[in-house]
């Protein structure tokens, strides 16, 4: 292996790392970051021809989009194109550290993959460190696609069981060749960061978390929410219903009116919940989510608050 590698974290809202269009109407998507795609994107963005990179994705959601491409020459609409895309993609890109890679900033955006003109493939890369040049290779399963001619550059040795395919390698702005390559699934001795067995480290740092999960955790962690011994189902149903039907303003006002009454402790706790709900954009967009959380509020009660010590109605 020559120099080391710069490690970048890649995030993309929606991306199609295109395979060839099939039967004129379906474009499948790879779930790794091939050398040809990321290197091409970097070269295009920074004007350096000596940039070499490969990577892999660690989490994403598979989705399908239907496009209606138009044949501009014949002025007709072609049959709908079904595109497989990856949403909320998160991965790692390893750029060979050389003279050309010095132009890469700490954070930048590139466009990669298919249907870029439709807004797909916007990738945000953030520097996450370096991999030293002397990292020793281990036997494992390749998690990216690398041309045979670039094996050495990426420290690939002793290919035990190749899975072959072809990657496009441009020879000029308009021409290029398909070159024999090693695809994901190849058993090879390689640096760990290129191997499937070692990508779990990336998964552990999964940044693509469910907003609702975070919100539920916040509610669970907020002591003021759990001052009441328990919330009555009917009260939760009422508040949840008002929130879903009329919004935060009406629900908040309703709770204020209850602070003088029997449910005062519950109302105070729910106002705290309401504050947390209001801070979540997804709940703002869809208040039915808020209703569901309020209705199931007792499920979030942490263990320490299930004991005595609260206020309001005592447990039976």
């Amino acid at each position: 292996m020559s120099a080391g590698f710069l490690r970048y974290e890649l995030q993309s809202e929606v991306i199609c790392l295109g395979e060839r269009l099939k039967a004129g109407w379906f474009r499948p998507c790879t779930d790794t970051i091939p050398y040809s795609q990321i290197s091409g994107a970097l070269r295009w963005a920074f004007g350096e021809t000596d940039l070499h990179a490969a990577g892999h994705l660690c989490c994403y959601e598979v989705d399908h989009l239907v496009q209606g491409p138009r044949d501009r020459v014949r002025e007709i609409s072609r049959i709908p194109l079904r595109v497989q895309v990856l949403r909320q993609a998160l991965g790692s890109v390893y750029v060979l550290a050389n003279e050309a890679s010095r132009v890469l900033p700490e954070e930048f955006e590139v466009q990669m993959g298919a249907l870029r003109s439709k807004g797909l493939g916007q990738c945000y890369l953030r520097r996450r460190g370096e991999v030293p040049a002397d990292v020793s290779g281990v036997l494992g399963t390749l998690n990216t696609r690398i041309p045979l001619g670039r094996q050495e550059m990426f420290g690939l040795r002793e290919v035990q069981m190749p899975v072959h395919g072809y990657l496009f390698e441009p020879t000029s702005l308009y021409t290029g060749n398909y070159v024999l390559s090693l695809f994901e699934g190849t058993r090879v001795v390689a640096p760990p960061f290129l191997l499937r067995e070692f990508c779990h480290e990336d998964k552990r740092r999964d940044l693509r978390v469910d907003e609702i999960q975070v919100l539920c955790q916040r509610i669970s962690d907020c002591d003021r929410v759990w001052r009441p011994y328990e919330y009555t189902s009917s009260f939760l149903d009422t508040v949840g219903g008002i929130l879903a039907d009329h919004g935060f303003g009406v629900a908040g006002t309703f709770l204020s009116t209850r602070e003088e009454r029997r449910e005062s402790v519950q109302a105070a706790g729910l106002k705290e919940v309401m504050r947390l709900l209001e801070g979540c954009p997804r709940v703002q967009q869809n208040r039915a989510i808020g209703r569901l959380i309020i209705k199931s509020l007792e499920t979030l009660r942490p263990e320490k608050h299930k004991q005595a010590g609260g206020q309001g109605r005592k447990p039976k």
């Binding site: 039967a23 072959h164 072809y166």
Partner: protein, 603 residues
């Protein structure tokens, strides 16, 4: 004396319960044929043919040690995957009648035509613990090894006078067994295409035909064949290479693992020194994989074949009428596209304007997992007999795999019959014996496929249902008719659970064979369809939210909550792993079953 020795018939006397050594005190007078000589002398060779037969017999044996595990000898075959408890009773045939028939010097087919049923029931070894393969399987396998060893034994010069010398024969036998190598290869046939159109699926049929052709042309070598997997035994190293070359020539690529050992190693007799690491089928899983491709160009200019992306797209395809979008295909893919669509129903459904929901069902049988599972079941069987089995005793040998092959075939046929009965001939396309496609009148029918499958496995291979390590892999993928098959294949390849049902665009239901019935029986509970529908809808927004809804039991009277509690009780959902269904699986179940509104009010 007739010239041809029918090696399969060497153990024919076992049918009469009088399988005796030639030096036995009881002399049986049989016909004057080469086959009869094989019957008499296959355990104590008296010439080159009987020595070859002896070695073939040892290789084809279910166990190398005729060791008793106690109890009465019933003579019936105990099938590990059936685990019927008591082996079937095997009756004894009249010896005179069998000898009379042998006097006609029958070939193997004629013998099977007359005594096939008895051969199936009678175990190769009558003793308990050894009776895991049928006599028929053992005899067939012996015949195959006998032919494989033909001309490969490097025998001492013929007509040496020492055949009567027991020690000399033993020495020759040892020497040959130590010198002759036998290689077992596990070949997995792969195709590079990602089929999209109905005609592209011809590649699957081509693959099945190629595997069937290999199994026919190399009938003696192919010990086991299931789906895309072949297990090949060979003494001649050129044979597996020729098989690989044929498969590559047909447009496929091959993953191969091999274990090579001397015949002595494979026979693995107790007390015999091993030359190296244990030579066993179980070792196949540990061996490195080789990939065998055809000629691959280092580089070529565009266009590339749009289906396989492995060769230049030298042929332009614009549809049968010439008015479709232009596609560039390589010669191989072009030939599939040009050929007749072999799967006619798929094409009919596509044009018929009928329900467009399909359920694809694929059954896989990874050979290494099968070997490991059989070995585990064998250990269990011996342990039940009250002995702690030694490692060599529970080795899965060729005969056990060959025995399983027949029942696996029966399972596939039974699943096919069951699916036809459930969905009707018009709504079912058999792509391959282990790959079916059913048109769903109602999306909720998808789980019916798993129901049919579960019933058949439970009936034919109940022991597999009891173990967590069932080697079978059932894949159900529910998708729109237009959803490309290449993706369906990919989903089924990437699935890891024993049973996995995937709703394209939805969630995955992953469970084990052991818990499949419990999961499927959820449909029999009086569940509110709307409760499952609600859960599925909530999960579309956030799985965490759905989990919250699921766990919320604060309103016991709430109808949805009652449904959730019912499921909870049914699956004993305290630990998700033990329940056989994780939360995502539950949502997938809701999406598959609950999203429909059955007329009976049951989901």
């Amino acid at each position: 004396m007739a010239d041809v020795l029918v090696p399969e018939l060497h153990d024919v006397l076992k049918l009469t319960g009088d399988h005796r050594h030639p030096q036995s005190d009881k002399l049986i007078i049989g016909p004057d044929t080469a086959t009869w000589k094989g019957v008499l002398y296959h355990s104590a060779p008296v010439d080159a043919d009987t020595l070859r037969l002896h070695l073939a017999d040892c290789l084809a044996a279910a166990s190398s040690r005729p060791q008793s595990y106690g109890g009465a000898q019933t003579g019936g075959t105990y099938k590990l995957w059936e685990e019927t408890g008591n082996p079937r009773e095997a009756g004894k045939l009249d010896q005179k009648e069998v000898l009379k028939f042998l006097a006609t010097d029958p070939d193997w087919d004629a013998f099977v035509a007359r005594y096939g049923e008895e051969l199936e029931v009678r175990a190769e070894e009558a003793g308990r613990g050894l009776n895991v393969t049928s006599l028929r399987t053992h005899m067939e396998l012996t015949g195959r090894f006998y032919r494989l060893l033909d001309g490969r034994l490097d025998l001492p010069a013929a007509h040496l006078p020492d055949w009567s010398d027991v020690d000399w024969v033993k020495g020759v036998r040892e020497s040959i067994a130590q010198r002759t190598e036998l290689t077992v290869s596990h070949l997995r046939v792969e195709f590079p295409q990602r089929p999209i159109r109905a005609k592209d699926l011809n590649v699957l049929i081509a693959l099945a035909e190629a595997v069937a052709r290999i199994a026919r042309d190399y009938a003696d070598e192919v010990i086991f064949a299931a789906g895309e997997d072949l297990l090949v035994a060979s003494v001649d190293s050129a044979r597996p290479t020729a098989i690989e070359a044929e498969l590559v020539e047909a447009g496929f690529w091959v993953q191969a693992r091999e274990v090579t050992g001397t015949i002595a190693d494979w026979m693995n007799q107790r007390g015999r020194p091993r030359t190296s690491a244990p030579t066993s089928l179980l070792r196949l899983a540990e061996e490195p994989v080789r990939a065998i491709y055809g000629d691959l160009a280092t580089s070529f200019p565009p266009p590339i074949c749009e289906i396989c992306q492995m060769a230049p797209g030298a042929h332009a395809w614009t549809g049968p009428e010439g008015d479709g979008p232009e596609e560039f295909l390589c010669g191989n893919c072009y030939s599939y596209r040009r050929g007749e669509a072999r799967l006619r129903k798929l094409a009919e459904w596509e044009n018929g304007g009928m329900t467009r929901r399909l359920a694809w069902f694929r059954l896989e049988l990874p050979v290494p997992k099968l070997i490991a599972c059989l070995q585990g079941l064998y250990s269990g069987y011996l342990a039940r007999l009250g002995r702690r089995p030694a490692q060599e005793d529970v080795e899965v040998r060729f005969s056990l795999l060959a025995e399983f092959q027949k029942d696996y075939q029966r399972l596939l046929e039974a699943v096919g019959r069951g699916l036809r009965a459930r969905f009707g001939e018009a709504n079912l396309e058999e792509v391959l014996p282990n790959l079916y496609c059913a048109r769903l009148e109602d999306p909720g029918q998808a789980l019916e496929v798993l129901d049919v499958y579960e019933q058949q496995v439970r009936e034919l291979m109940p022991a597999f249902v009891q173990t967590e390590y069932c080697p079978l892999r059932a894949r159900l993928i529910v998708a729109d008719l237009k959803f490309p098959f290449g993706e369906i294949w990919r989903i089924s390849e990437e699935a890891t659970a024993g049973v996995q049902a995937t709703l394209v665009g939805g969630r995955r239901l992953r469970t084990t064979h052991r818990r499949l019935r419990d999961v499927l029986s959820l449909r029999n509970l009086r569940l509110r369809p709307s409760a499952l529908h609600n859960l599925a809808e909530i999960a579309q927004v956030s799985e965490e939210l759905a989990r919250l809804r699921w766990l919320d039991r604060s309103r016991p009277g709430d109808a949805d909550t009652q449904t959730y509690k019912l499921i909870d009780q049914h699956l004993e959902w305290r630990h998700e792993d033990a329940s056989g269904l994780d939360f995502e699986g539950l949502v997938a179940f809701a999406q598959m079953a609950g999203a429909t509104k059955p007329s009976s009010g049951k989901a």
